[in-house]
Symmetry: C2
């Protein structure tokens, strides 16, 4: 069995999880695949192309079930899925931020998010801004969450002392932000 795009993606994600994005290079990727860096260019256009593929792969687990009649619950569960998908791959946030959401699945997700926000009562004029706010909130939150989870115990206690913050429950903090945004959307028209 030879090198396939799928294998390249899975190997890249393995490298991300093991060594982080700063060690995902065309050379390390090639080495892991037992080929030379130059050979990668037969399968993918360039590194940006690889990042786009990874972004799409990272977002793949996010589904768009429409079973929830309660719009608020639907938005919460959508954001929660988004968050969980990002947490599954180390540096997922950086990968998404280095690639434009032009890929099919990510475009679908945006459409779905917009629909939810419209249903929540945000006007046409504001729904793109609202969508951006939610998207940026989730990305920034997960970025922090992932960074915290990689801190040593001593740094953690330093941070806690300095900020006087309990972050034992990331879930609660996450829901707080979403609640703020949803309440804010309702209040401002």
């Amino acid at each position: 069995m030879g090198i396939s795009k799928e294998l390249i993606i899975q190997t890249s994600i393995a490298i991300l999880n093991k060594s982080g994005i700063e060690n995902l290079t065309m050379r390390t990727l090639a080495k892991e695949l037992d080929i030379k860096a130059a050979s990668l260019y037969w399968h993918i256009k360039n590194k940006q192309d690889l990042l786009d593929l990874l972004a799409e792969e990272i977002c793949a687990p996010i589904t768009m079930e429409n079973r929830l009649r309660d719009t608020e619950k639907a938005i919460f569960s959508f954001c929660q899925m988004y968050r969980e998908s990002l947490l599954k791959v180390r540096n997922a946030v950086q990968v998404l931020m280095e690639s434009a959401p032009n890929t099919p699945h990510r475009l679908e997700l945006i459409q779905h998010g917009l629909k939810l926000i419209r249903t929540w009562g945000v006007s046409d004029a504001n729904c793109y801004a609202a969508m951006n706010m939610i998207n940026n909130y989730v990305l920034a939150f997960v970025d922090d969450e992932a960074r915290f989870s990689r801190l040593g115990v001593e740094e953690l206690t330093t941070v806690v002392r300095h900020m006087g913050m309990e972050f034992s429950d990331f879930d609660k903090q996450f829901r707080y932000g979403i609640s703020v945004l949803l309440a804010g959307f309702c209040a401002v028209q």
Copy 2:
């Protein structure tokens, strides 16, 4: 007159504004200063040190005047100053994001922001999360704003058509987001 830290900072910002962050390298910076890259290490520790200095310089124009009795107005004007400071330097957002807010002025800004948010009525338990939300909102907004302002006319009309969005008035959009956050903070306790 020799090379000073201040000259290095100003030259770096000139390079940012002319060529963007991807062209701010130790080599281009040295060339602009008429020295060799190795010489830079006499004046600054490394590139991360440079980015920290730049982040502090970018945030320098943000003042913390306390003259406004109206908390809402104070927060709006604080965010507006933040935004304007970021817009003055190309890729300012990326610079801030690549450096931790450990420098004196940035720490002061955080303290001031927290105070405003507390005054606005956010609880101790939530004020760090709220502060993060505002900070991330401004950064993401300016990142978009700066990106849009660098788009050509043809891409702009494409985006407008696709999103059905008017972005003639960035100010209005910016204030919308801040309003959402402030209203949300009040509504969720």
